[in-house]
């Protein structure tokens, strides 16, 4: 029996960007598997010990600082 299903469109090569006339408030980071607040603090500030800065800026979306989820967009306050 032939498979009548159309192949799924491939969007893997889509590129994009964004900008605004308003000043930036803070950077954002979309959480991927393996991310932790300490890891992000190390990545953005050079020190894992500054994880609390990220947590404080995202208390509205992070209930438990030990639990962040892939796909979450979190704000990274300016260094």
């Amino acid at each position: 029996m032939p498979d009548n299903k159309e192949p799924k469109a491939d969007f893997s090569d889509v590129e994009g960007g964004s900008s605004s006339t308003a000043p930036p408030a803070a950077r954002t980071h979309t959480v991927v598997k393996g991310d932790t607040l300490s890891k992000l603090a190390k990545q953005y500030y050079g020190s894992a010990g500054q994880w609390k800065r990220i947590y404080e800026a995202n208390k509205d979306v992070i209930e438990n600082p030990d639990l962040i989820y892939p796909g979450q967009t979190i704000k990274i306050p300016e260094a």
């Binding site: 469109a9 994009g16 960007g17 964004s18 900008s19 006339t21 308003a22 000043p23 979309t30």
Partner: protein, 153 residues
């Protein structure tokens, strides 16, 4: 002699004409109004999305130059979000989807607007867009703020 007299009368008449209004008593100038207490500065408007537009080009003001909803397969597609109001931090996000529900791209811009602003998002595809219907959904701090449908032909 006669000539002098005539000129004298004319001069007198002229003075009289001019003199009449000059004699009118000047009205006293109105007393200056009491300085009213300065009105409190109006509160800045709450942050809100005013318009969402899509198009093929963007200006320096981050507004779409020629709004439209039909694109070619090699076009870069721009979405511009016009906002008003001030806020210390607002995250405007764009979610681009294809007609089959696939999420093509998600983007976010976190801004600290001090008044009217425009934020743009754009996507492009080197291998050409599949023809079909698309949608861009805009959210502010994860709350839906509007969407725009468009088509690639």
């Amino acid at each position: 002699m006669i000539r002098t007299c005539r000129m004298g009368w004319a001069a007198a008449l002229g003075l009289a004409v001019i003199g009449v209004p000059a004699c009118k008593k000047k009205e006293a100038p109105a007393p200056p109004a009491e300085a009213a207490a300065p009105a409190p500065a109006p509160a800045p408007p709450a942050f809100a999305v005013l318009a969402i537009e899509v198009g093929k080009g963007i200006g320096a003001d981050k507004r779409v130059t020629a709004p439209g909803t039909t694109f070619g397969r090699r076009d870069t597609i721009y979405a511009s979000v016009a906002t008003e109001g001030a806020a210390p931090s607002k995250t405007i996000s764009a979610k681009w989807t294809y007609q089959d529900g696939q999420v093509i791209k998600q983007q976010a811009e976190t801004i600290a607007p001090t008044g009217p602003a425009a934020t743009e998002f754009h996507i492009s595809k080197p291998k050409a867009w599949p023809v079909g219907k698309y949608k861009v959904e805009i959210a502010v701090d994860s709350a839906p703020a509007g969407s725009k449908d468009f088509e690639v032909k």
